[in-house]
Point group: C2
Chain length 470, copies 2
């Protein structure tokens, strides 16, 4: 429970309706989309303006109260679990698209706007905001920015980072920082915009963003290629890129995933195949057709068992939906689903999938792997039951080995989900001690009291590699 005077001050700032500390609300904000993590906040506050955020930050700072910003909480790294109590600040009331500027091709938004709402608003007028995390129906743009969300279109269009031109953010001391602008080029000082993108709510609370838009591609077309072995699927990914074609989507599903999606959606996926690639291209119609034809030829040359091109855009959407639903489908299989996002250079997909399968076998856990093959961002997915402590422990050991394998293949522990609590103990494996020192120094600059989302990114102790000192 918060002390009475703190409660009173917060209610003064946001009004009775927008401060809650009843058990029901606290439970609702004690977890996010990440399984296995939960912690109770002492209060939940829903600011309606940047000014209210400033006032709340000043109170939090004065009382050294932990403060966890969040939108829909759809992140998968336990980034919005209030692990040290304190306040959860929910940004969903600040949900207006403030402007769509067609001359400068920018959208100015509040952090609580749903990703898909922006998609719809801009696509109606022939514009495009590419980042498309699988959670886009429920995720907020503020959350996307805090996590640097990726998605299926990352290979061709990049991730959230590539579309944030400017930010308004409130520092823990209540000061407002404004970065960038409606500018593609701005080198006035270190790039604080990109530093805040992906900072997971540990440096500042984002209260407004200027996003870059691009023209909406005229046309899109999807195809699938089926493979009887993993290696061939991975080689095909490399062959497409080596042919100088960058599809907008280049997704991979292994046999485990195929079978589960088919159980769930019954869309005619081949249960006997080792892997499927789902490929989509967008752009001017004639170019899309040319690219899809070239890709079909490549798939046939590398040895795909079956290649099928969607005849219509609707048919393509149906195929893509299968991939987008992979997570929901897998979620039906067992009470707890843990989704990882180890990422490797695209040329290392086959070795990485082999490693995942070896590790799964070693620890006797069931793993389905799907993901963004084009950018090497795989989602090994573990099916378990959180109540089975012994199994969860085996899973954690398997995770650690998968992260180690990704790094030794030139990859990273997280491609798009963020570090949060889930991967904090492994961060040093990727960035090294020197990197950790610099990251901690930067955290200190923004948040000297350590009240902003404490316990995220930085772990109390780093995970030790098997039999090795760090």
């Amino acid at each position: 429970m918060l002390p009475d005077n703190v409660r009173k001050k917060l209610i003064e700032i946001v009004g009775e309706d927008y401060f809650r500390d009843d058990p029901q609300t606290c439970i609702s904000y004690s977890y996010d989309a990440t399984p296995l993590y939960q912690a109770m906040p002492e209060g939940v506050v829903f600011p309606g303006s940047t000014e209210e955020v400033r006032q709340i930050m000043k109170v939090a700072s004065h009382y050294q109260l932990p403060i966890v910003g969040r939108g829909s909480g759809s992140n998968l790294s336990a980034d919005t679990v209030p692990s040290q109590g304190g306040l959860v600040m929910v940004m969903t009331r600040m949900n207006r698209i403030l402007e769509i500027d067609q001359e400068n091709l920018t959208a100015t938004v509040q952090p609580g706007v749903l990703t898909q709402d922006l998609h719809q608003a801009v696509e109606q007028i022939g514009l495009f905001y590419p980042p498309d995390p699988s959670s886009m129906q429920v995720s907020t743009l503020g959350g996307n920015i805090a996590e640097c969300s990726g998605g299926l279109r990352g290979l061709k269009y990049g991730t959230t980072k590539d579309y944030v031109l400017g930010l308004e953010a409130v520092l823990p001391n209540g000061e407002v920082l404004r970065t960038g602008g409606k500018l593609y080029k701005d080198v006035a000082g270190y790039d604080l915009t990109k530093l805040l993108v992906g900072s997971e709510g540990t440096l500042a609370i984002i209260t407004e963003a200027i996003l870059k838009l691009i023209p909406l591609p005229e046309h899109r077309r999807a195809m699938t290629a089926h493979f009887t072995d993993l290696e061939t699927a991975a080689q095909t990914v490399s062959a497409i890129i080596s042919a100088r074609i960058i599809p907008c989507t280049l997704e991979f599903m292994d046999q485990g995933t195929i079978q589960v999606i088919e159980d769930y959606a019954e869309i005619g996926l081949p249960r006997d195949m080792a892997a499927i690639l789902l490929i989509e291209q967008d752009g001017p119609a004639e170019i899309v057709d040319q690219d899809i034809e070239k890709i079909r030829n490549i798939c046939q040359q590398t040895g795909a068992a079956h290649v099928e091109v969607a005849r219509t855009e609707e048919e393509g959407t149906r195929i893509t939906a299968a991939r987008r639903n992979a997570l929901s489908a897998l979620a039906r299989l067992s009470p707890t689903l843990i989704l990882e996002d180890a990422t490797v250079p695209r040329s290392q997909i086959a070795p990485m999938v082999r490693e995942i399968n070896r590790i799964a076998k070693k620890y006797q856990v069931q793993i389905c792997t799907f993901g963004h093959a084009g950018d090497g961002n795989l989602h090994p997915t573990f099916l378990t039951d959180a109540r089975d402590k012994e199994k969860v422990q085996r899973l954690e050991q398997a995770f650690a080995e998968i992260f180690e394998a990704a790094i030794s293949l030139g990859g990273t522990i997280t491609g798009e989900h963020g570090v949060g609590m889930a991967k904090a103990p492994f961060l040093e494996w990727k960035v090294g001690k020197t990197g950790m020192d610099v990251l901690k120094g930067i955290k200190q600059v923004f948040d000297p009291q350590g009240i902003l989302n404490p316990g995220k990114i930085f772990a109390e102790t780093s995970h030790r590699k098997e039999g090795k000192d760090l």
Copy 2:
């Protein structure tokens, strides 16, 4: 002069041939491409490896010796002038392209590689590294990264920042920081890669970079449109973008620039026009042709006096060369040429050009303006003689007003040249006091002794706005 023991240590590290402190060498490295700035170093060192850079940094750190990293010194913000003496560390010996990875579409390079050498190496095999600063024939990639160089293709392809995936950099304490990798997606900790890009040698010395490549566009075509008034030219820029076309180049030249280029190159530019737009599109041939046709129609609708489409790629190259040579042409006009890069949102180009002309008149200085209209990045260019102290003083007042105008139009003091010494006193106008505090804090994290490129980005005192307190 450096103390004897320091000299001795540096010679031990790099060998006799690669340490110099004779007057001739010191003079050669006392200036860069920025007029009006010069300062003598106490020694010049040419490391051949990351290990040598580490050793040199340790010596500099131990003796608290200022250390200025540089490549070709083609920057325009006095970023590589050793304003506080000490060492200049020249990275041009580390000039190897270490790898071009066709599967992952990356190039791994040392900092001393010339920009154009990378262009040629990758274009030969159908790949493309888009950043094209006007100095690309002489500039180094390390310098491009330190400055976040832009160029003519920024509108469609972005700037250097968008093509750096990973870095190896040496901190002042001699530790090696490794960021990113051959990965399009990596959210393991704050984005230190993007923080180092554009940090102007004030945080670390870059010793290796992993750059992103894309497929080389098949085809390119150029056109020009002539305008009898500025407003129509600016409206045309907005009309093209609003029609959802993003040309790869969309350049602007005013009458002063046209006349000077024509004097220099005699390529038949119309001396009587108020402005010319130079437009280029690249991509698949049929799409390029369609886009150029659409742009031609837009230019005619908005009221261009004359529109001319290059018949061949060679003819296009000749037209583009005219714009690329603008700087050399202007340089012939007077002993000293000062090139600014105030940048505004694209919709504000006409008001900005009007402001520049008003300010030029007020201070009785000659200004030619050209630049990257598509991304609002203008280069007002002042012609003067550095020996004329009174005129230089008027110019400085004119600069200050131009920066103020750019900011009040939602722009920035520098789009692609960097802050360096030249714009350090104005940085606070753009980023505010809160921003300055954060930037200084970050500098402190990387370089607590302040030995790396001191006097750059951070000015001793900020410039006061006319009649206003900051």
